[in-house]
């Protein structure tokens, strides 16, 4: 049974209940086609990287679901496209690593990356010139830990 993931941006002008009912319609749609919802990720109100329909923010949602009936995805996309409350949508089929990644994320194994403050870069160049420190951390963690590596230009 393939896993799919549909993420969409709901218009922020709508009230909280309207946003919820929008998500509910798509949840029901998946349920009616004998699919099962794995998880609904509410990412909440976020600033958009560029304006869409003269809006600078949007409410992000991501629904992961299992569906046998593949043509359903096309139907769902059409419904999302016709829906005026939805600003953008994207459906993605997840491979086994994607499924595992989402599962780990739900269980809190994948944490938010800690941002290094920028002052470190200028003051102490040896802080990121240690090649030995990174490999030591690598074999230990069972969860996937994203190492921060500074990509230098030039």
């Amino acid at each position: 049974m393939p896993h799919y993931e549909v993420s969409f941006i709901v218009d922020p002008v709508l009230s909280g209940d309207e946003v919820k009912s929008t998500v509910q319609t798509y949840k029901e749609m998946i349920g009616n086609e004998s699919g099962s919802i794995v998880h609904v990720d509410e990412m909440g109100l976020r600033a958009l990287a560029y304006p869409i329909n003269n809006r600078s923010t949007g409410v992000y949602f991501c629904i992961e679901y299992v569906m046998d009936n593949a043509p359903f995805n096309g139907k769902m996309e059409l419904a999302l496209k016709r829906d005026e409350r939805i600003m953008r949508y994207l459906t993605v089929k997840l491979d086994k690593y994607g499924v595992k990644y989402n599962e780990d994320k739900r269980n809190g194994k994948i944490g938010k990356r800690v941002k290094k403050d920028k002052s470190v870069e200028g003051v102490a160049p040896e802080a990121y010139m240690r090649p030995t420190s990174a490999p030591v951390a690598a074999p230990v963690p069972a969860p996937i830990v994203k190492e921060e590596i500074i990509v230098e230009e030039e």
Partner: protein, 88 residues
């Protein structure tokens, strides 16, 4: 006989040494790249929001392709910009 800390170099011996690049996905076993994780993807993009080449990031071809699709998906969902200035 000069002790170790008395020895000084005329020029910094580390200058001109090549840092070996590596593919972080292979090294740390990252199999999936999430297009919703903007703080991770921003490492593969320059200040204008353009994709960095493999030459600079050191990614293997397989993961460079996946990074590229993840960034393109993020752009579509307005998580990353298509074009900007001073992204970082």
């Amino acid at each position: 006989m000069a002790t170790q800390d008395e020895i000084k170099f005329l020029s910094n011996p580390n200058i001109g040494q090549k840092k070996t690049k590596y593919c972080r996905f292979k090294k740390f076993g990252l199999k999936h790249i999430d297009y919703k994780d903007d703080s991770f993807l921003i490492q593969f993009v320059n200040e204008q929001g353009k994709l960095l080449p493999r030459r600079l990031t050191g990614n293997s071809l397989k993961y460079q392709r996946r990074v590229a699709t993840a960034i393109k998906r993020a752009r579509h969902l307005a998580i990353l910009p298509f074009v900007t200035d001073l992204l970082k």
